[in-house]
């Protein structure tokens, strides 16, 4: 192992995506919402609790050959609002960006108010949330005004 690789703990990937700056402890949630089970035929590296200048501790997920869709990035933002996405081609980072919690979150999570119009099955309405606060993440139902907190958001997205 080269010195650099030792520092990185896990091998670099050739082509794919590195999700960096995931809040420590949330890497498994990220895998869960990406539907990754470990049965895939490509390399998946998960690094948890590594030191980070910016965050104290952080998790990293590396996905060989995989690129993320917009909705997946939005969901990651709801779980790990500080995450950065690195697109890797031939061992090089060709694109790097921070995830962004969307201003309006539609359809991804359900309102926790059972008496909310968005929980009425026979009506053509999608759950819709606006961001009330980013840190900690608090969303607010556009229809009934109910707040939903980060733990609930994670629980709903991951089923954990």
């Amino acid at each position: 192992m080269s010195e650099e690789e030792k520092r990185l703990i896990v091998t670099k990937i050739k082509d794919g995506t590195v999700i960096d700056h995931i809040d420590a402890g949330r890497a498994l949630y990220v895998l869960k919402i990406l539907g990754i089970t470990g049965e895939e035929d490509f390399t998946i590296a998960v690094v948890m609790n590594v030191e980070s200048k910016r965050m104290g501790r952080k998790d990293i997920v590396k996905l060989e050959k995989m690129e993320l869709r917009k909705e997946q990035v939005d969901e990651i933002a709801l779980i790990a609002p500080n995450a950065t996405i690195n697109i890797i081609r031939n061992y090089r980072v060709v694109k790097k960006y921070k995830v962004d919690v969307p201003k309006v979150i539609e359809g991804l999570i359900n309102c926790i108010n059972p008496n909310c119009i968005t929980n009425q099955k026979r009506e053509p309405v999608r759950s819709t949330f606006l961001v009330k606060s980013l840190r900690p993440l608090i969303l607010i139902c556009k229809y009934c005004g109910e707040e939903i907190h980060h733990e609930d958001i994670i629980r709903q997205l991951t089923g954990v």
């Binding site: 909310c116 119009i117 009506e123 139902c141 229809y143 009934c144």
Partner: protein, 307 residues
């Protein structure tokens, strides 16, 4: 002057202060010159769709529309209540929209008015939804205070009763808080306290407020006391209800030290939270408030439909 033309009225919070004052001023003029408004909405149709029983709100909207020369159609209550096996709400609204120019809706499901306003291309007025919003009641309350004091700002206000599930109390707190009250006392049993978002709103507006278990010691400080009903069903233990209800009853005897201009409001109907002995005092403004339902709703219908 902010215009309400073609706007939906979903929540009192969404209305700007000058829009609220405009509605009040139009209502004031309507009250004075009722007759001169009688043809203003000729040819317009109001649809009332009440999925929850209501007498006052529905009748006062219907009366308001007719006093402006318009006409009214009503979704029959049996239709509204048997919707479970019939068509969904969205389709019902699409139908009503073809038959009318504006819809007033009341529903126990929260967020219904907002949802309906997205479906319909005609204006929607929220006639009360779930436990959270009742914007036209709040306008009536503010109008009544404005008539008594000639202003809405700087008052010391007590709100008493079910502050958690009562949409009238909740909407009133939001409404009056837009006008920088001096102090707000939130008087309720522990389990019926105002929700967190109400308190956050008061904090945001830097309004001095206190939560209290009863009104002792504060009545003499108040300009306005807003009384609402505490429902027995809110208490899992009926004994607990019996124990606390006395602390939230207003009788003539307790009004000895109140300010000269002090007024009592209540969205009605009442059960026994205000004793009949209070009705004859100069403080009782709840019948005036009830009568203000029609002019306020006339003002809204006029401003939304024509100008």
């Amino acid at each position: 002057m902010g215009s309400l033309k073609n706007k939906d009225i979903i929540s009192i919070r969404e209305l700007k202060n000058d829009e609220i004052l405009d509605v009040i001023n139009v209502a004031k003029d309507i009250k004075k010159n009722m007759k001169s408004y009688r043809d203003i909405l000729k040819g317009y149709i109001l649809a009332t769709a009440f999925f929850e029983p209501s007498t006052r709100t529905k009748l006062s909207f219907q009366s308001a529309m007719k006093r402006l020369g318009g006409s009214v159609i009503d979704l029959p209550p049996e239709e509204a209540s048997s919707r479970a096996k019939g068509e969904n709400l969205a389709d019902t609204i699409r139908m009503l929209e073809c038959y009318s120019d504006i819809i007033v809706i009341r529903h126990k499901i929260e967020g219904t008015a907002k949802f309906v306003s997205e479906i319909a291309n005609i204006p929607i007025i929220n006639g009360g939804d779930g436990t959270k919003e009742h914007p036209t009641q709040a306008l009536i309350d503010l109008f009544t205070i404005y008539e008594a004091y000639g202003r809405l700002d700087g008052l010391t206000v007590g709100v008493l009763g079910d502050l958690k599930y009562g949409r009238a109390a909740r909407s009133f707190i939001f409404g009056i808080s837009k006008f920088s009250p001096e102090k707000i006392y939130l008087i309720s049993p522990e389990q019926l306290r105002a929700r967190k978002d109400v308190l956050e709103f008061l904090n945001e507006k830097k309004i001095f407020f206190r939560e209290k278990n009863d009104y002792s010691g504060i009545l003499k400080d108040l300009d306005v006391l807003y009384v609402t009903r505490i429902q027995r069903e809110r208490f899992p233990d009926p004994m607990e209800y019996e124990r606390v209800r006395g602390s939230y009853r207003i009788t003539k005897d307790i009004l000895k030290d109140v300010k000269d201009n002090f007024i009592i409001l209540h969205p009605l109907p009442r059960v026994d939270e205000i004793d009949f002995s209070v009705d004859g005092t100069k403080f009782a403004k709840y019948f005036v408030q009830a009568a203000n339902g029609v002019p306020i709703r006339m003002a809204l219908l006029k401003m939304i439909l024509v100008e």
